[in-house]
C-alpha cells in the first residue's frame, strides 16, 4: 500500500521568496515559491472549506519530521473569498498565479501512487459487469481497500493516506473511470466520514477513523428524506433524549442513501428540541454518528437506477435507535452547519472527476473520428466535428483548471472559504460533462447508443452529477446569494440611497455621472489584470477585466432593484444569470492563470494551452479547429506532469507525426484566413524565444469583436434598461 514518505528536508524557508509579478519570463524558481513550501514536510494536510462561523479547525497534524525546524501550520496565510469579492468588483490578483502545492518529490510520489490505481482500473475493474449486475464485486472493493483508497483524506496517524485536496482531486480523476466505484468511494469518504474529520473530537476520531481508513467499515451520509431533498432544514426524523440523559433515541427514515445497504457507520441528521433563551422550544438539526450495531437500523433493497448502478442506494429506517451522547457530532442544534460544511468540502473534486470522464470519452470519440471515413473523408476533417472537439476540449481545460485552482487554494491557505468556488466547479463540471458527453455520443454515432459499448454507460453515470451533492439550481442560487450577501454588507448604504432616489438627488446625480461609462457598455478597466500574466494572454485578461466590471455593475443594479426581496422565489431568474456570470469569470480566471503558468514554465503544448485559454476568453468566439495528429490533448495530459511524455493513441501514422510540430489549420469559418499557422517547438522557461505567429492578427480581430461583451451584454442589458425606465418614471433625471 503506497503511502507518503515523510520528506526529510525543507524547501525554502519560512519567509517566502518574492514573487515578481509581471516578469513571468523568469524561470520557475521564482514563481513557485509562494506559500507552498509548508507542504514540504510530510505534513498531512486535511483541509477545511468552512464558512465564517463554522466551528471547525484545520486538520493539519504536526509533522513526523526529523528536520530541524518544526513548521507550525499557522504559517499558512489566510485567503479572502475570491468569488464573493468579485461581486464587489475586487479581484484578488493572487489567483492569477496558479497555486503550486506539490514540490517535485511530492509530485513524483503522487504519480507513483497513481500508476497502480490506473492499472487496477484498467485490468481489474469490469465496468460493464458492474452496470449489468448493479453491484460491485467484493474482490474489486477489496482491491480498492488495499490501495488505500478508503482513507484518502484521513490523516496518517489514523491509518489513512493523509492526502491534501490536490492529490485527492488527482485521484478522483482516475476513479472517475468507473462511476459506481467513484460514487461508492465518495459517499464513504467525501461525505460519509468527512463529518468526523471536520467536526469530530479526538475520541470520536480515535474510535472510528482507523477502521474507516482501512475499509473495514464503510460510511454513509444520511440527510435526504422523502419530504426533504434540497430543503434540508425541513427533515422530520427526530431524536429525543432518554430519561437518564445518556442516550438519544433516533426515529425516522431516510431515502436514497448511497452505501446504505453496506454502511456500518452513518452520519445521521435529525431534529432535536432545543430550548431557546426566551423559553420557546424549537427543533434544530443535530448530527449523530450512528453505528449499525446500535440496533434499530434497517435498510431496504437497493434501488434500481439509471446510472451508477453499481453503487448501493437504499432507504434506511431508524426505530428507536439508541445513540450515546458521545456520538453527537459537533454541537447539539448545530447539525445544519455541519451538513453544509461537509457538502461544501467535497464538491470541488467533481471538476477533476468530470474531466477524467470527459477525457476518456474524448479519447474514444477522437479515435473513432480519425479512423472512420464517410463520403471519402475522415470524420475529423468535417468542421462540425472539429467544432465539437474544440469546444469540449475548452470545457475540459476549464473544468480541470477550476478544480485544481480551488484545490490549490484550499491546500495552501488556512481555513480558506471556498464554498462558492466549489459550488461553481460543481455546476460547471456537471453541466459540461452531461452536455459534452452527449456530444461525444453524437460523434460516435450509432455506436454511441449501443449497450455493448461503454459509451452510453458513462453518460448515464454522468447524469446524476447534476442532481446529487446539491442540485445545480440550488447551487446557482447559493452562488448568487452568497455573493450578494457578501456584497450587500458593504453596499448597504449605497443601495439604500439608490432605492430612494428622490430623497438623495445629489447623490443620484453624482452616481449617474460615474456610471455613464457603464451605460455605454464601456467600463473603465483599471484592474490591470494583464500585468499579472504572460503578455500573450493580454486579450483574455482585458476581457476578464471587462467581465468583472460588468458583474460589479449588475450586482449594484440587481440589489438596487429588489433590495432584500432579491432572495424571493420570483427573482431567481436574475440570480441565476448573476451566478452564470460568476461561473464564467471564475472559469476564465482559472484558465488564464493556468495557461500563463504553463507558458511561462514551458510545459509542452503550452502554446496550445494559450490558444485554448485565449479562445475560452472569447467564449463565443469563432471555433478554432485543430487537427490533432500528435497528442497535445490526450487524457494522460496533466499540467503537473512536468516530464510529460506523450502517449499517442493508436492512430495511423499521419503526415506530421514528429512529436512536437503541430499543424493547426484555421477553420473554414474564417473565410479570409486559409493560411496555416505553424507552431515550432519552444524552449522551456524563456519567453524571448517566441514563436513566429502566436495569435494571428485576424484571430486577434476575431477575439476582439466577439468578446464576452456579447455574452455579458445580453445578460446585463435587461436589468439596466429596466432600471433606466424605472428611474425615468420617477421623474428623476438619470441615466443609470
Amino acid at each position: 500500500m503506497l503511502r507518503w514518505q515523510p520528506v526529510k528536508f525543507v524547501l525554502g524557508h519560512p519567509s517566502r521568496g518574492k514573487v515578481i509579478f509581471g516578469h513571468p519570463g523568469i524561470g520557475r524558481a521564482m514563481l513557485g515559491h509562494q506559500e507552498s513550501h509548508i507542504a514540504a514536510l510530510g505534513v498531512t494536510r486535511g483541509f477545511s472549506t468552512t464558512t465564517q462561523d463554522s466551528c471547525t479547525s484545520p486538520q493539519v497534524q504536526e509533522a513526523r519530521d526529523d528536520g530541524p525546524a518544526q513548521q507550525p501550520t499557522t504559517l499558512k496565510p489566510t485567503h479572502q473569498p475570491f468569488v464573493k469579492n468579485l461581486f464587489l468588483g475586487k479581484f484578488d490578483k493572487k489567483m492569477l498565479t496558479f497555486p503550486e502545492v506539490l514540490d517535485r518529490d511530492q509530485h513524483e510520489l503522487l504519480h507513483e501512487m497513481i500508476a497502480p490505481i490506473e492499472r487496477f482500473f484498467i485490468e481489474k475493474v469490469d465496468g460493464a459487469k458492474i452496470d449489468k449486475e448493479a453491484s460491485i464485486p467484493p474482490e474489486t472493493l477489496q482491491g480498492l481497500k488495499e490501495l488505500g483508497l478508503y482513507g484518502q483524506q484521513i490523516p496518517e496517524e489514523y491509518g489513512g493516506l493523509g492526502l491534501g485536496a490536490t492529490e485527492y482531486a488527482r485521484i478522483a480523476e482516475i476513479l472517475a473511470l468507473d462511476g459506481s466505484i467513484a460514487v461508492t468511494l465518495a459517499a464513504h469518504q467525501a461525505i460519509g466520514l468527512k463529518g468526523i474529520l471536520i467536526t469530530g473530537n479526538q475520541e470520536q476520531k480515535k474510535k472510528y477513523l482507523p477502521r474507516l481508513a482501512c475499509g473495514e467499515w464503510t460510511a454513509a451520509f444520511c440527510l435526504t428524506e422523502p419530504s426533504s431533498g434540497s430543503d434540508a432544514a425541513s427533515i422530520q426524523s427526530r431524536a429525543t433524549l432518554s430519561k437518564d440523559g445518556k442516550t438519544w433515541l433516533l426515529n425516522g427514515s431516510k431515502i436514497w442513501i448511497s452505501n446504505g445497504g453496506s454502511a456500518d457507520l452513518l452520519t445521521v441528521f435529525a431534529k432535536t428540541p432545543e430550548v431557546q433563551p426566551n423559553g420557546e422550544v424549537k427543533d434544530k438539526v443535530t448530527a449523530f454518528i450512528v453505528e449499525r450495531g446500535f440496533g434499530g437500523v434497517s435498510s431496504s433493497t437497493p434501488e434500481d437506477k439509471m446510472g451508477i448502478r453499481g453503487s448501493n442506494t437504499c432507504e434506511i429506517h431508524f426505530e428507536n435507535t439508541p445513540v450515546p451522547i458521545e456520538n453527537v457530532l459537533g454541537e447539539i442544534g448545530g447539525g445544519f452547519k455541519v451538513a453544509m460544511n461537509i457538502l461544501n468540502s467535497g464538491r470541488f473534486s467533481m471538476g477533476s472527476s468530470g474531466a477524467g470522464i470527459m477525457k476518456k470519452m474524448i479519447g474514444w470519440s477522437m479515435e473513432h473520428a480519425v479512423t472512420r471515413k464517410q463520403f471519402g473523408h475522415h470524420l475529423s476533417e468535417f468542421a462540425l466535428i472539429k467544432e465539437k472537439f474544440a469546444r469540449m476540449s475548452v470545457a475540459v481545460y476549464a473544468m480541470e483548471s477550476m478544480a485544481y485552482i480551488t484545490a490549490g487554494v484550499l491546500d495552501s491557505h488556512k481555513n480558506a472559504d471556498c464554498s462558492v468556488e466549489a459550488a461553481i466547479v460543481k455546476v460547471f463540471s456537471s453541466e459540461s460533462v452531461w452536455h459534452w458527453g452527449s456530444e461525444c455520443l453524437q460523434i460516435l454515432g450509432g455506436m454511441g447508443y449501443m449497450k455493448p459499448y461503454p459509451f452510453e454507460r458513462y453518460l448515464r453515470d454522468a447524469r446524476v452529477l447534476l442532481i446529487f451533492e446539491g442540485t445545480n439550481e440550488i447551487l446557482r442560487l447559493f452562488i448568487a446569494l452568497s455573493g450578494l450577501q457578501h456584497a450587500g454588507i458593504e453596499l448597504q448604504s449605497l443601495i439604500k440611497k439608490l432605492r430612494n432616489p428622490l430623497m438623495n438627488p445629489g447623490f443620484i446625480l453624482g452616481k449617474s455621472i460615474e456610471r455613464l461609462r457603464h451605460q455605454k457598455d464601456n467600463p473603465k478597466l483599471d484592474l490591470d489584470l494583464a500585468g499579472y500574466i504572460h503578455p500573450s494572454l493580454k486579450l483574455g485578461a482585458d476581457s476578464l477585466e471587462y467581465c468583472v466590471k460588468r458583474l460589479q455593475y449588475s450586482v449594484e443594479v440587481v440589489l438596487a432593484r429588489h433590495g432584500l426581496k432579491v432572495a424571493e422565489p420570483e427573482n431567481q431568474l436574475e440570480l441565476a444569470r448573476l451566478a452564470d456570470c460568476a461561473i464564467d469569470i471564475y472559469g476564465m480566471t482559472a484558465v488564464l492563470s493556468r495557461a500563463s503558468r504553463s507558458y511561462c514554465i514551458g510545459i509542452r503544448n503550452s502554446a496550445h494551452e494559450t490558444h485554448v485559454g485565449v479562445w475560452k476568453m472569447a467564449r463565443r468566439g469563432e471555433v478554432i479547429s485543430t487537427t490533432i495528429t500528435t497528442t497535445p490533448y490526450h487524457h494522460h495530459y496533466h499540467p503537473y506532469h512536468h516530464h510529460y511524455h506523450p502517449q499517442p493513441p493508436s492512430l495511423p501514422p499521419s503526415t506530421s507525426n514528429k512529436g512536437r510540430l503541430r499543424h493547426v489549420r484555421m477553420s473554414n469559418c474564417v473565410p479570409w484566413a486559409s493560411r496555416r499557422v505553424w507552431y515550432g517547438r519552444f524552449p522551456s522557461g524563456c519567453s524571448t524565444d517566441r514563436m513566429k505567429t502566436r495569435v494571428p492578427l485576424y484571430l486577434q480581430f476575431y477575439l476582439h469583436i466577439v468578446l464576452p461583451s456579447a455574452h455579458f451584454r445580453s445578460r446585463v442589458k435587461d436589468s439596466s434598461t429596466v432600471v433606466y425606465k424605472l428611474i425615468f418614471a420617477t421623474g428623476c433625471y438619470c441615466c443609470f
Partner: protein, 277 residues
C-alpha cells in the same frame, strides 16, 4: 316597442341621442345579456333597428356584441359543453371541479353516505380539498369553531348547483413589510441554508389562495340532498383525511328546512350541532 316613432329624422335628433332614456334602457338590457353570456340574434336586431333606427346606440351595441361574443366564446378556461348534463351528480362534479381549480393540487373525492354509520340520508357527496387546506386544518387551533356554510349557488349555463363550504374565521393579515426593511441589503439571508428565523420568513412565505379576507375556506362539497344529515356525513368522512377535524367544533349554520315533517320529540334545531368523533 313602437316602430318608427323613435327613429331620428334630422341632424339634431341624430346628434343628441333621440329618446335617451329609451335607448339607455335598451342598452342596459343588452348589457345584462352580455353579462350573462346570452347572445342576441337577427330577430332582436330587427326589433332594435325598427325601433331606434340603424345608427342608434342600441343597434351599434348589438352589432358589437354580435362581433365580439363569438370571439370570446373560448376565453373561459372552464368551458362548458353546449348542453349541460341534466343529471345532478354530473353537474355537482363539474361545479366542484371548477371551483377547486383555483388550487391545482386539489383532490376531488366522491363519497356515499352509506359508508358512514348512523347516516339517515342515502345520497352521494362530491367533496373537494387540497393538501394546503388539509395543512391549514391540521394547524387549526382546537378551541376555535369552524362553520359549514351554504347552500350557495353556482350556475352552469342554466342549471344551478348548491354547494357548501367549510370555513374558519379569517386570520389577520401580517403587516406589510416595511420599505426600510426591504432597502436594507446588509443582511440578506440565504433561505436554503437554515439561517432564516420564522419571522424573516414573512418576507418569503406566501399566504395561500384559500386564506381570504372573509375567512379561510377549508373544503367544498355538494351533496345529493343538500340536507343537514348529508353534511354531517361529509364532515365525518373528512375526518378520515383530516384527523384534527375530530377535535375542532363544527357549527352548522343551516336553518331547519321549512315544512319538514318533525316528530314531536325533536327540538327546533337552529342551534349549533357539535360533531361527535
Amino acid at each position: 316597442m313602437p316602430k318608427g316613432k323613435m327613429i331620428p329624422r334630422n341632424v339634431f335628433q341624430v346628434e343628441f341621442m333621440h329618446y335617451p332614456k329609451h335607448q339607455q334602457c335598451a342598452i342596459d338590457c343588452l348589457d345584462q345579456m352580455e353579462l350573462n353570456g346570452v347572445m342576441p340574434d337577427s330577430e332582436s336586431e330587427e326589433i332594435l333597428m325598427n325601433t331606434f333606427g340603424m345608427y342608434s346606440h342600441p343597434v351599434r351595441k348589438h352589432r358589437r356584441m354580435l362581433y365580439w361574443m363569438p370571439k370570446f366564446k373560448h376565453a373561459s378556461p372552464w368551458r362548458l359543453p353546449e348542453s349541460v348534463p341534466n343529471n345532478a351528480f354530473e353537474l355537482a362534479k363539474l361545479a366542484v371541479t371548477r371551483m377547486c381549480t383555483v388550487d391545482p393540487s386539489s383532490v376531488i373525492s366522491l363519497f356515499e353516505t352509506k359508508d358512514v354509520e348512523d347516516a339517515i340520508e342515502d345520497t352521494w357527496i362530491v367533496s373537494g380539498q387540497s393538501p394546503t387546506q388539509q395543512e391549514l386544518l391540521q394547524n387549526h387551533p382546537p378551541e376555535e369553531p369552524i362553520k359549514v356554510e351554504g347552500p350557495f349557488r353556482i350556475f352552469l349555463r342554466d342549471q344551478c348547483v348548491g354547494y357548501f363550504i367549510l370555513r374558519a374565521e379569517a386570520k389577520p393579515q401580517p403587516p406589510p413589510v416595511k420599505r426600510e426593511y426591504i432597502d436594507d441589503v446588509g443582511s440578506i439571508k440565504l433561505w436554503f441554508t437554515g439561517d432564516l428565523e420564522p419571522d424573516d420568513m414573512a418576507l418569503i412565505k406566501p399566504t395561500s389562495v384559500h386564506e381570504q379576507e372573509d375567512g379561510i375556506i377549508l373544503a367544498i362539497c355538494a351533496t345529493g340532498t343538500s340536507g343537514r344529515d348529508s353534511l354531517l356525513s361529509w364532515i365525518r368522512l373528512l375526518v378520515n383525511t383530516n384527523p384534527n377535524l375530530a377535535n375542532v367544533p363544527v357549527l352548522f349554520t343551516q336553518a331547519s328546512p321549512v315544512g319538514d315533517v318533525m316528530t314531536t320529540g325533536q327540538h327546533d334545531e337552529t342551534t349549533s350541532v357539535k360533531t361527535v368523533p
